[in-house]
Amino acid sequence: MKSLNGVKFAEMVQMGSHHLFQNADYVDALNVFPVPDGDTGTNMNLSMTSGAKETTAQAEVHIGKTAGALSKGLLMGARGNSGVILSQLFRGFGKYIASESELTALKFAEALQHGVETAYKAVMKPVEGTILTVAKDAAAKGMEAAKTEEDLIVWFEAVVTEAKASLERTPDLLPVLKEVGVVDSGGQGLVYVYEGFLASLKGEELPEKHAHHSMNDLVSAEHHKNIAGFMDTADIEFGYCTEFMVKFETGKKEFNEALFRSDLSSYGDSLLVIADEEVAKIHIHSEEPGKVLTYGQDYGSLISMKIENMRQQHIDIVGEGFQKNAPKQQATHPYAVVTVAMGEGISELLRSIGASYVIEGGQTMNPSTEDIVNAVKSIGAERVLILPNNKNIIMAAEQAAELLAIEAAVVPTKDVPQGMAALLAFNPEATVETNQLAMASASKHVKSGSVTFAVRDTSIDGIAIKKDDFMGISEGKIIVSDSNLERVTEELAKKLVDNEAEIVTILYGEDATAADAQKLGEFIESLNSAVEVEIHNGKQPLYPFILAVE
């Protein structure tokens, strides 16, 4: 055969799609990369089916038009990484031959090559050892073979042979494949498509199911998926990996693979069954291996059994030392930073950036000297820095520092934003004095503002304030007052955010919602698009908003 038209090509696509469909389960089983979720076969099959449907519906003698239909069908039905790549391969293929009515081996080769180039362009870091590699190697072989070979069947045979060889090489390129002991699933899928093409060219039928796949490949891929799926030994639901073979015997139950499979699937997961006329190989993860074996005995005698406790293995692999959510304990902090804040969210935030202990209080419930002393003692500090975060607590903090029998110093922070900036400058390697200086200077770099409400009618800084109005305060001065919270907050933000601003942190309190904070954040970004806005739920009382500008 020297040339190929659209009708014949549509048949090839049908056959490729069918052959992939027949073997989709196996491709699923191989799927360990990029995410071992075992859906590569399913996804590729859905993509290819969509492509084949469109091709059949619009098949023309003109091969360019037929290939265009395939490309469109693949794009519409693309599912999964492998499906998207498949659609790109045939998109480039189709574009290249859009105006061709028939293909020679050389044209076909060039189109394959163009498809590969298109597919490679759509990714920043092509990972070799995948479907891309298989397509690339096969196309390169095609270009080479087309120089001397005009017969399409002989030529495409060389392409498929190379695709298979390339597939076998994938574990050498992609370490995870070697580790698990499988070939790449997407590459395998493409090989099935090409095998289907070839069979159609030759006018042959392909066997319904691929002959024996090695059980070991499947089992190791299955296990890899399992291990990846469990962060925690306690997550393992079916604890025993059970593998055995049943040798069928006359007088026992008649073996029916579908029934056998569905019966066994009620005992656990990761079920694999491979059978021929004489023997069935079974792999299953089950909590009741005994029952599984007993079930198997209904069909014949058991040979070569292996049962392993996966929980034990998992503990050995993962170790139990690492706990994600270790209980919060009042640990000892020989070198501590003790600070004061209102609101659970702010306390949490301060702890997350290095505060050893946060005393609840501030504004209307100021901690006493004694409270501060006790806090420092309770954490067993030997050296301590105290951040009052409120000008009314600075005195108490100073006194506490004097009373304490340990090295203690106060960084006179006047509000939470200053406290945060000071905390971030804490260096556990430096002396108390050095830290005191560094933290004090850091705290001055931050501009802070807060919004609260008036408790009585008054007039301050020439601004008339009515009870329950909101006030925007910055550096101890009232900037703005109004009955509308949003207006006050925005005025305050305008005052604070200038061209120098880089980061604005919004702490919203009990009297504001996340949506309010979000809105404020957007407003701030509209003032200066260069700022990064960070929003935290401070849960502080009395202050709907606290702003820190750096």
Binding site: D37, G80, N81, V84, S87, K95, A228, G321, Q323, N325
Partner: protein, 120 residues
């Protein structure tokens, strides 16, 4: 900001930049992604594709309870099925973060900031 993990030996702090790097690295390995974009399109220009050291600009990480929420700004190759590529990125990023940090990921939000036409 950073994420804290505690175990018997002490604590491990992982800065948000590190998480952004890992998430960005996982994303650009995904098929169909041709770049990470910045979230400040207006300021940095639409076609500004970030280099590796700047991934943090196009990846936002925040912690909600014990879970991570990740926002990613990406540029996708023209002619691919965008919804599917975005879905692949979500799944790959979630998997990679879970595997490397042992943290659960609550959401990966993808913002497609542009498509890049490569001459077909």
């Amino acid at each position: 900001m950073s994420i804290e993990l505690k175990n018997e030996y002490g604590q491990i702090d992982i800065s948000n930049d590190v998480i952004a790097q890992i998430a960005g690295g996982a994303a650009i390995e995904c098929y169909g992604i041709v770049g990470m974009a910045t979230k400040h399109q207006i300021r940095d220009g639409l076609t500004d594709i970030l280099r590796k050291e700047n991934f943090a600009k196009g990846v936002l990480v925040r912690q909600e309870d014990e879970n991570l929420v990740i926002d990613m700004y990406v540029i996708i190759s023209y002619g691919t099925k965008i919804s599917e590529v975005a879905y692949q990125v979500q799944s790959k990023v979630k998997y990679t973060i879970t595997k490397t940090l042992g943290m659960s990921v609550k959401a990966v939000n993808i913002f497609v900031q542009g498509v890049r036409v490569t001459n077909p």
